[in-house]
Assembly symmetry: C2
Homo-oligomer: 477 residues x 2
């Protein structure tokens, strides 16, 4: 109450009487708008929580299609699944965008072992995406443990004939586990390129997780510009095995580590982005993209990464249609192909958008798992960032408090531009790296309420962005 | 930027120069306090995330003690476990508070079945706490389905000789699942007392959960003042079975439901609250209680309910000691006995506090599961409520945004008083009723990071409350 009394005399001093009346009227208008928005958002959430379909869609995708790495028969099955489902939901139009994608295959299950103090230890490993195979007989070599790319580089030729073991763990003190991932993943992506240069025989990398367990985490790697004859095999080992190996190396620095994998990269394969849209009522030429990625790693079922993003994105359209929300702009749902190892789908989508002179006004990506909602990360100019942040009171009743500036996602970021507002959905991150890129990323790890609350959160921000973001005179609530 | 420019000239106009300088100095002072607090809270979180013990304590409690219903040998084992652990953590003093507790035992596994359209269906059920047994031959009767206590009462004598089936589901549109629980649990607690009055042969109640699954949820019930000869057996049936039974009753309203249970209430048994404390440095006579409940239902391992609250409460003390935080007031950790069916431990604790003329200034309870932190619920006078809410900026970096007025918890609420500030820890509620009071409430459902983030959240608010709440001139940040 104090604040209001405090401000009124000031405005009387500064502003003209007319200006003040105008302000008051505007504020009344805003209250009505706010009330309408609050009611509509509540309707969206109620509908998601009682009639949501995403959980059953996800069950179907994970159980009947399963893991779906780019170029695989499962990825093709997923494309057909997605096209069929978009049509069932009744989008105004649905089509496929052809795109050539990398085609890497894992081959036989990897094997790793070493003997120390007379004990043979079997090590849970998995090849990293794009890694070459070991020779048929595998690789057997002494191990040098390092904690960073810099430390590896400094070894230079000392690593010749050795296996380099990258073992920098996640920083557990970072509350957002994606930041911990960002602080470690260079080891997985670039480790083999650096060590291949200096003649190492192979690279093993500690799995990207906070958890100490027996599950190796795969993920993409790159040899960069390294000539093909210097490409060396690289694999992830489980976090628990990494700790044990590190301890064993302290006692027995000369132990020899053995691993064998038969993965290979085949010629690029044809695939598709799956696209569907609800045509805008007023400015259909303005397009707002909502999406996730349809491909996944092969070890699990691609549930949290990114089956949840796929089904939530489609549920945004489902909730709009179910509740008769007619968007001003065109809302386009995209199931991007090949986010995991190449982002070819994202590049193709952006390329076609430019080619077809499409006007993309914004986008929302869900690729951070299907856990309980926390908010959104905003990649936009400062005016639009502030506008989105002004919706906090409408969103916070649903646990959506985080509305910070930050990246959106790998699939929509090629659409970035001064007047394009990109947003990343940000659920709670604590459990995500327990499952990410492992055999544990399965349907049973997804909670139905958390999933549909995510769909509703996404639909709500799309509703607000569609309504306010590109009006002639953006209204701050 | 605009806002700042707007306010500065106004303060120059209104306030005297002195006042303005004073304000500025005060704001500098606050900044320093704020910085210290922010640093100390960060230290608490870092310590919990890297050196926290609660996860291993919980493993020990759930796996080596297990479910521990009041009066059981396991509850006694839990008391010994708690006393030993408090001493190991190095609390200044540790003791047991004797308390007599109810002693209800489940007996043999319950059985329920019915036949419809020639199909025999086995129904997952469990007796409710304090229910009487069925006769040895079980109960076989026709079923009347109702949705509320009022609907049951209106049936009156029509329910004579029948089984009454309470089947009002959770309201899925409530974002906080505890509110949905609060809207349904009267069926479980009072259903049998009402139907016993009118001569029903038994009561079955839909399990208290949002989830549709095969796990019956036990929980306490009461016959109230009903004379003993009118006590009828009552059990929970799984939510999925409730849906199927409801459908079957529509087709075949005369189907007969059979159930058998052999539970009974034995004479009260001796037990204990486990208490330990860190003596306050300045005002040791002021006591701040931190606790959860040590007893649990017998079906699972009492992991989320309330093993997590127990280990988090002790971890508050552990984090204070580990980081050399010396509280002004005495911080007392209490493992309350018998929250689930009687709250005798809570009553005894409050009774002794009065008897011993102890000065309780506040308390914090953790009994809402071990999921990712969301905030605290505040039961205090308006001045202290506002003070706690003013710490939002210190707590929000850790996902602690919810600081609303509300209840604290069943075990500390008997300490309520005008100048006693009670707080309930509020983690995310979405998954809680998937496990609550079922065989699924086991260690594997608890995530280590979510658990220790809870400990750190609790330690942080205890740190702030100890520092600011009862100082002579409370400082708002």
């Amino acid at each position: 109450m104090k604040k209001i009394i405090f401000l009124i005399p000031f405005s009387l001093l500064i502003f003209s009487c007319n200006k003040n009346i105008e302000k008051k009227e505007n504020s009344n208008l805003l209250s009505i708008a706010e009330k309408t928005d609050s009611t509509n958002i509540k309707t969206i959430f109620n509908s998601a929580l009682t009639e949501g379909k995403s959980y059953e869609w996800l069950r179907d995708l994970t159980k009947n299609v399963g893991g779906r790495l780019s170029g695989s028969p499962e990825a093709q099955k997923a494309v057909e699944w997605g096209e069929k489902l978009m049509k069932e939901v009744g989008l105004d139009s649905v089509w496929l965008q052809p795109v050539m994608v990398p085609h890497w295959v894992r081959g036989e299950k990897e094997v790793a072992t070493y003997t120390t103090n007379g004990n043979q230890k079997n090590v849970p490993i998995c090849a990293l995406g794009f890694s070459v195979a070991t020779p048929n007989s595998g690789v057997l070599a002494k191990v040098i443990e390092v904690k960073s790319l810099e430390e590896a580089k400094a070894l230079g030729n000392k690593m010749e004939g050795k296996i380099v073991f990258f073992n920098r763990p996640f920083d557990d003190t970072l509350i957002n586990t994606f930041r911990a991932y960002g602080g470690c993943v260079d080891q997985r992506v670039r480790g083999a390129a650096i060590c291949g240069e200096f003649g190492a025989k192979g690279v093993i990398v500690r799995s990207m997780t906070n958890s100490i367990d027996d599950y190796p985490h795969t993920g993409t790697m790159s040899y960069g510009d390294l000539p093909i004859e210097k490409h060396i095999p690289t694999a992830a080992i489980s976090s628990k095995a990494a700790n044990i190996l590190s301890d064993d190396l302290k006692v027995n620095p000369n132990l020899k580590f053995y691993f064998k994998q038969s993965c290979k990269t085949l010629p690029d394969a044809p695939s598709f982005n799956v696209v569907g849209e609800i045509k805008g009522e007023k400015t259909p030429e303005n397009i707002f993209v909502v999406g996730g990625h349809l491909d996944s790693w092969d070890l699990g079922e691609g549930a949290h990464d990114d089956g949840t993003g796929i089904v939530q994105s489609l549920e945004v359209a489902y909730l709009f249609k179910k509740n008769n929300i007619k968007p001003k702009n065109t809302i386009r749902i995209v199931f991007f192909m090949n986010e995991e190892n190449g982002t070819r789908g994202a590049k193709k989508y952006a390329e076609l958008a430019t080619l077809n002179k499409e006007n993309h006004i914004g986008g929302l990506e869900s690729d951070a798992g299907g856990h309980t909602p926390r908010g959104f990360s905003i990649d936009a100019n400062s005016v639009n960032t502030e506008l989105l942040q002004s919706w906090k009171k409408l969103l916070s009743p649903y646990g959506l408090h985080d509305l910070d500036k930050g990246g959106s996602g790998a699939d929509i970021s090629p659409l970035k531009g001064e007047n394009v507002t990109l947003v990343g959905y940000r659920p709670d991150s604590q459990r995500y790296f327990d499952y990410h890129h492992t055999s544990r990323d399965t349907f049973d790890k997804v909670n139905k309420r958390e999933l549909v609350l995510g769909s509703a959160s996404m639909a709500s921000i799309v509703y607000l962005m569609d309504k306010y973001l590109y009006s002639d005179s953006p209204v701050k609530l």
